[in-house]
């Protein structure tokens, strides 16, 4: 496969490229079983996480991935840097460019910032989530987890439940799963359903609709409390009762042997009940482990300056 400079979204990937990343993730995951969980692939390369928005999981996942590829990680704390003093994103990038950083992992609350950075640096840029736009590595790890769980994914059904409107995860994951031939449905309160939904996606109104649709995987989104300046639903308790995976619904999920996924971190008692965490067909921990393998696979594929 031809190396690529940046990974900014799923939409710009070809089917072959998606397949390349997912196939390579498998040998990377096998690496975790070895006593030495590290390969010299990115020896001498530097990776810089540039997180304008708080994230512990995604950031550490990228850092573990980079470490296992023998890259050097440059700690860069946006809050304490000049950014808070009003330095623009491009000024920061210029500084990083002078430091000869090879890979920049960007998260920003504003959509399109990773693209802007990518256009202005020789380094490879990986979008680790921008606004409501995209979160391609999350999508790829979700796809990998499903491929690992189901023998054949084409034609299988996944329902995504929650705040679809504000979710870049929903956008990217839904897209990659459809590219793999899966059927995708959304279940969300009217206020959290985007105005425009791709026509291949089935819209569901309630859990009753969901049972009727017969999905094999239920993908719960995190209720993003920090984005709830204006309330989109009456209360957290109300959300749990109407849209959450309650104990009662979990019983039915268990009976039908459905799989449950969540991008983390979970809000217990909101989008899901505590008991989901110990449910034997919950893929949540597997998603975390696979996140490292998939991010290693992405870093392995990207090459600074490729195509320039």
């Amino acid at each position: 496969m031809t190396p690529r400079k940046d990974l900014l979204d799923i939409a710009s990937l070809s089917d072959e490229e998606i397949n390349f990343v997912l196939t390579n993730a498998e040998p990377f995951k096998d690496l975790f079983k070895r006593s030495v969980k590290k390969v010299p692939t990115l020896k001498g390369q530097t990776v810089l996480p540039l997180f304008y928005e708080a994230s512990t999981r995604t950031r550490s996942s990228f850092e573990v991935a980079a470490t296992r590829l023998s890259a050097d990680i440059i700690p860069f704390d946006v809050d304490s840097s000049s950014v808070t003093k009003g330095e623009s994103v491009l000024d920061t990038v210029e500084t990083l460019e002078a430091m000869k950083v090879d890979y920049i992992v960007v998260r920003h609350k504003q959509s399109g910032i990773p693209n802007l950075i990518a256009q202005n640096t020789h380094a490879s840029v990986i979008n680790a989530g921008d606004g409501f736009h995209a979160h391609p590595t999350q999508a790829l790890l979700d796809a990998f987890t499903i491929q690992e769980t189901l023998p054949e994914v084409a034609g299988r059904k996944v329902v995504i439940v929650g705040d679809i409107k504000h979710s870049r995860v929903a956008r990217s994951t839904s897209l990659v799963l459809r590219r793999l031939g899966m059927e995708v449905a959304y279940l969300a309160p009217g206020s959290l359903m985007p105005r425009e939904v791709p026509k291949e996606v089935t819209l569901l109104r309630s859990w009753d609709d969901l049972w009727d649709w017969k999905p094999e995987i239920i993908y719960l989104l995190r209720v993003q409390m920090e984005r709830q300046r204006e309330p989109f639903f009456p209360s957290v308790g109300e959300y749990h009762k109407v849209y959450g995976l309650t104990d009662e619904r979990l019983t039915r999920v268990r009976q039908q042997g459905l799989y449950v996924m969540h991008p983390g971190p979970v809000n217990r008692g909101v989008e899901l009940t505590d008991n989901v965490m110990t449910y034997e067909r919950s893929l949540i921990n597997q998603q975390v482990e696979n996140g490292i393998a998939v991010r290693m696979s992405v870093l392995y594929w990207l090459r600074p300056g490729a195509g320039c």
Binding site: P3, T23, R34, V36, K38, W301
Partner: protein, 248 residues
């Protein structure tokens, strides 16, 4: 030559069981001469002239893959004899109770290791088997035009205290072998690691040398050795083909 006869004496039974292979071995020996460094060199002209008819037959079967073939080094039976001999040498060296493991380097080191393992098993030796994908350990990964699809290494046995024979079909610059050795050591602390090759081609760029060698050849830069294995390619053969040569 002396080594060869010792091999036959110690493993006479294996060769007798193998039937024509024993005679093949002697016939093969006639085609080899001792080089100044004590290694066996293949007398290519003689091999080539004696095997020309077979070469034509092979070419008619595999036209597409052999268009740039220059000459044959070993035909199927010659390869079989070489493999018999290598397996005999390994068995002789490790006739004690050592735990033997054969590890093939992708791609064709794998069928090569498999062939040796089969022969060792036929001699009653128990051997572990592994495969190694050196991609992540390559020293030219950052400059390759294409990012290789990974196959993944499979070492399912305990490396600690095993005698590991690293198998590659051709050793040339030894950069692949260097990478393979480094990766192998990440799996555990082997008691001993040795290198087996079917063809030792001149042009080393690193000070690494095989412990078991099938044939040894000197080739100009614009030629390369190709090995084909029945289980991988559909036929057995070692031949020289045209190559643009390694970039300087």
């Amino acid at each position: 030559m002396i080594n060869l006869y010792v091999g036959v004496t110690h493993n006479g039974l294996a060769y007798l069981l193998a039937g024509p292979c024993g005679f093949g071995l002697l016939a093969g020996a006639a085609n080899r001469v001792l080089g100044t460094d004590g290694q066996r060199h293949c007398s290519m002209e003689r091999l080539h002239s004696s095997l020309t008819p077979r070469l034509h037959r092979l070419e008619s079967h595999h036209v597409t893959s052999q268009t740039d073939k220059l000459r044959q080094l070993l035909d199927a039976s010659g390869m079989g004899r070489c493999l018999d001999e290598l397996a005999a040498q390994i068995a002789e060296r490790w006739k004690d109770k050592s735990r033997l493991a054969l590890v093939g380097v992708y791609r064709r080191g794998v069928p090569f290791a498999r062939q040796l393992a089969n022969r060792l098993e036929a001699m009653g030796k128990q051997v572990d088997f592994g495969k190694i994908d050196i991609t992540q350990y390559r020293d030219d990964l950052q400059t390759m035009k294409v990012v290789p699809q990974l196959r993944g290494s499979e070492i399912d046995f305990d490396m600690d205290d095993a005698v590991v024979i690293l198998c590659d079909e051709v050793i040339y610059t030894a950069r692949t072998t260097r990478a393979a050795l480094e990766e192998l050591l990440d799996f555990g602390r082997a008691r001993c690691v040795q290198i087996a090759v079917l063809v030792d081609r001149s042009g080393r760029e690193l000070p690494i040398h095989p412990d078991y060698t099938g044939i040894k050849v000197d080739l100009p830069l614009q030629e390369r050795v190709s090995v084909r294995f029945a289980e991988h390619d559909g036929w057995d053969e070692v031949f020289v083909r045209h190559w643009e040569g390694r970039p300087a």
